[in-house]
């Protein structure tokens, strides 16, 4: 068919994909609500969103990298480093929280720049570059704390993941984490769908050579997406540390969950396609799936199996839908 026709179906297809992920999520959530009606009450919904927030934030960062045609496997270990680093830097003293968070974002920025530079200038495939970063960052985190969690995160650090506004109209309780999530989601949506940079990310993911010929600084775009993903990881780490406290393997497996969330949300793995709304809906689906399996009483290993199957099914469905819609 002609190019013009393809462009015509582009928008509706995208819309359909978004709706699909959102619809799947709503169905999952309804089933959860049938099993445990508490989830349909405002407090239940708020608690669910709070729990989904870290993964949704990771997915909102990961979607930039995926759309640009790369992977960022280092985010899970960066979450761990953020939590460990938070406890080491604050050293049980609440007055250290402010600058410690600044330093953590600085670390995130550095990790993003290194990942981006390795991919952009050393021409290393991102899956290898960030796999290396995963191992290296985990090593740094373990060395820093001596292999076991030390100390505590002060309450004012944990507030972002744990603080809840009470007696809020309509929803009764409103966790601060949801506010953080909403801000990140809005920023990500604007960044990917509302800026020139966002359009360049799509261009690079679609066809880097063509993008370069069209005058896009492909290397700078690559640096940018890895920085965004890393900063999202630090944010998710602050929420997770706030919610659960110090833990040495808080980030284990999160990189795959974030990628899975994006894929389930219709983001194409080889780049060029994807939406922030889809990625976040994917993260909500993943969280809903875990919640559902827990309510059904499934043990953890089977939940992992289900997550893997879900990922394969989502990719297969995505490929099939693309074949059908052209």
């Amino acid at each position: 068919m002609t190019l013009a026709l393809k462009d015509d179906v582009h928008r509706p297809a995208l819309m359909r994909r978004i709706n699909f992920a959102v619809v799947v999520f709503l169905v999952f959530y309804l089933v959860i609500g049938l099993l445990q009606p508490a989830y349909l009450e405002p407090a239940g919904i708020m608690n669910f969103l709070r729990r989904a927030a870290p993964l949704a934030i990771l997915a909102a960062g990961q979607v930039f990298v995926l759309v640009s045609g790369g992977f960022d496997l280092s985010v899970g270990s960066l979450v761990t480093l953020t939590v460990i680093g938070g406890s080491m830097l604050t050293a049980n003293d609440p007055s250290n929280t402010g600058w410690a968070i600044g330093v953590l974002y600085g670390i995130g920025l550095a990790v993003g720049l290194i990942n981006g530079a390795v991919v952009a200038y050393l021409r290393t495939p991102s899956i290898i570059a960030t796999l290396g970063a995963l191992l290296a960052i985990n090593g740094v985190a373990m060395t820093w704390c001596g292999g076991s969690p030390r100390g505590y995160l002060p309450e004012n650090f944990r507030m972002f993941g744990r603080f809840v506004f009470h007696d809020v109209p309509l929803v009764k309780i409103f966790p601060l984490a949801i506010l953080v999530f909403a801000v990140v989601a809005a920023l990500a949506w604007w960044g990917l769908h509302g800026t020139v940079f966002g359009r360049r990310v799509f261009a690079v993911g679609d066809n880097p050579r063509a993008a370069e010929l069209a005058g896009v600084h492909v290397d700078r775009v690559r640096l940018g997406v890895f920085v965004i993903s890393a900063l999202a990881a630090v944010t998710a780490g602050i929420l997770l540390g706030g919610f659960g406290g110090v833990s040495v393997d808080v980030g284990v497996g999160l990189e795959l969950q974030a990628i899975a969330a994006c894929v389930v949300g219709g983001v194409q793995l080889m780049g060029g396609r994807g939406t922030v709304v889809g990625a976040i809906a994917g993260a909500l689906i993943m969280t809903a799936l875990f919640t559902l399996l827990t309510l059904l009483g499934w043990p953890q290993p089977l939940k992992d199996t289900a997550q893997g199957l879900m990922l394969i099914i989502a990719v297969a469905l995505g490929a099939w839908r693309r074949r059908r819609t052209g």
Binding site: G244, G297, L302, I313
Partner: protein, 380 residues
């Protein structure tokens, strides 16, 4: 929706495959004889100096050590499995302080850290034996079976003292350890049974499967729960992770509406489990944790219905004392030296809570009389 239709059968298939797996572990760790033996040990009155449980023993006989007698001061060597968790960190500090106490009798104390690796520990032990710089060797084995040959070889050259995890040979002069996993399971489950309201729901939190000391804690507790018809709504693995623990507990609160008691095979994440109740606006459960300060502080602060079993870190003191006694030709308890395994209850909580100690310090360290306390253990 098509997605959900696919996932159901696919995952159900996986469930069937997975269902067979757990049985592979179960047998060895649920031995009725060992369970009964632990029950007997718990009933015994410890012998030995009062207030010094690290020198006390439950039953056991004295072994003649006159053949090892030699003039002091002595050179003692220690092959350590690792210091990779807070429990081992506290224990290791206990041991070094005990060496300081006995400095008149100990000329040198050399330690090798195997960093949790069997092969490293085997070569550490061989190196110590061949160096000729050791009058006695203390071993804290990384794993039981793998270290047995190295310990056997060392026994032929010098007196060996093993503690914490054991080896599959009787050749060491003594093997120092507390009552163990079955005792822990019995103590904790009995507490929950005594406090649980009728029809109350219990959630068991375990670190990970397949580790003998943890498996036996659970098998003993589960036996008692079953005997008493306790409703255990779940036994979940937390990996010792705070975030995961909190999430699991929250899941169970959401699923059942109310959880009455939390049983734990190790207390490191007890505070995270309690936070899940706080954040869900639920009353605190009956809980068994461990003797870590963070949990003890929370217990005191909130007036919990709780108890803390211990796997006492003071057992790191005993091997040093034993080594010196052996080299002096004084009798020691052997070939197995069972130490008392106290619990912390509401009645004696106050003597173990200490705001000056770090959150991951183990209160049953028996270290208050040791040189350098509390700074050496990170206290203020």
């Amino acid at each position: 929706m098509r997605l959900t239709k696919w996932i159901g059968p696919a995952v159900a298939g996986a469930a069937l495959m997975g269902a067979a797996a757990p049985h592979a572990f179960a047998q060895n760790f649920d031995d009725p004889k060992e369970f009964a033996a632990a029950q007997e040990l718990l009933k015994m009155t410890p012998q030995g100096p009062a207030g010094k449980p690290w020198e006390q023993n439950l039953g056991g006989k004295e072994v003649d050590t006159s053949k090892y007698k030699k003039p002091g001061p002595y050179r003692i060597c220690f092959s350590n499995a690792g210091v990779d968790n807070p429990w081992r960190v506290v224990g290791w500090l206990d041991m070094q302080a005990q060496v300081d106490v006995l400095k008149d009798d100990i000329k040198s104390f050399k330690a090798a850290d195997a960093q949790g690796k069997d092969d490293k520990q085997i070569s550490d032990i061989n190196a110590f034996v061949q160096s000729g710089d050791c009058d006695a060797l203390i071993v804290s084995p990384n794993t039981t079976a793998a270290l047995t040959p190295a310990v056997e070889a060392a026994c032929k050259k010098l007196p060996v003292i093993v503690f914490d995890r054991g080896v599959l040979t009787q050749c060491p002069v003594t093997f120092v350890n507390p009552i163990g996993g079955y005792g822990w399971g019995i103590q904790t489950a009995n507490f929950i049974v005594s406090k649980l309201p009728k029809g109350g729901k219990v959630l068991a939190l375990r670190i990970l499967p397949g580790v003998d000391v943890l498996e036996t804690r659970w098998s003993a507790a589960n036996r008692i729960f079953k005997e008493n018809g306790v409703d255990v709504v779940g036994a979940e693995f937390t990996n010792g992770d705070n975030a995961k623990t909190k999430q699991i507990v929250e899941d169970y609160i959401n699923k059942y509406g109310k959880i009455d008691a939390i049983w734990m095979d190790a207390g490191a994440t007890a505070v995270a489990a309690l936070e899940a109740f706080e954040d869900s606006g639920q009353p605190y459960p009956i809980i068994t944790g461990e003797d870590q300060e963070d949990f003890l502080k929370k217990w005191k602060e909130k007036g919990l219905t709780a108890m803390a079993p211990t796997y006492p870190t003071y057992q790191w003191r005993s091997p040093v004392i034993a080594a010196v006694r052996i080299l002096k030709g004084e009798p020691v308890i052997g070939p197995t030296w069972k130490l008392p395994q106290p619990t912390i209850t509401e009645a004696d909580l106050d003597q173990y809570v200490d705001d000056k100690m770090p959150p991951l310090h183990y209160a049953m360290c028996g270290c208050k009389d040791l040189p350098g306390y509390p700074q050496r253990w990170g206290g203020k």
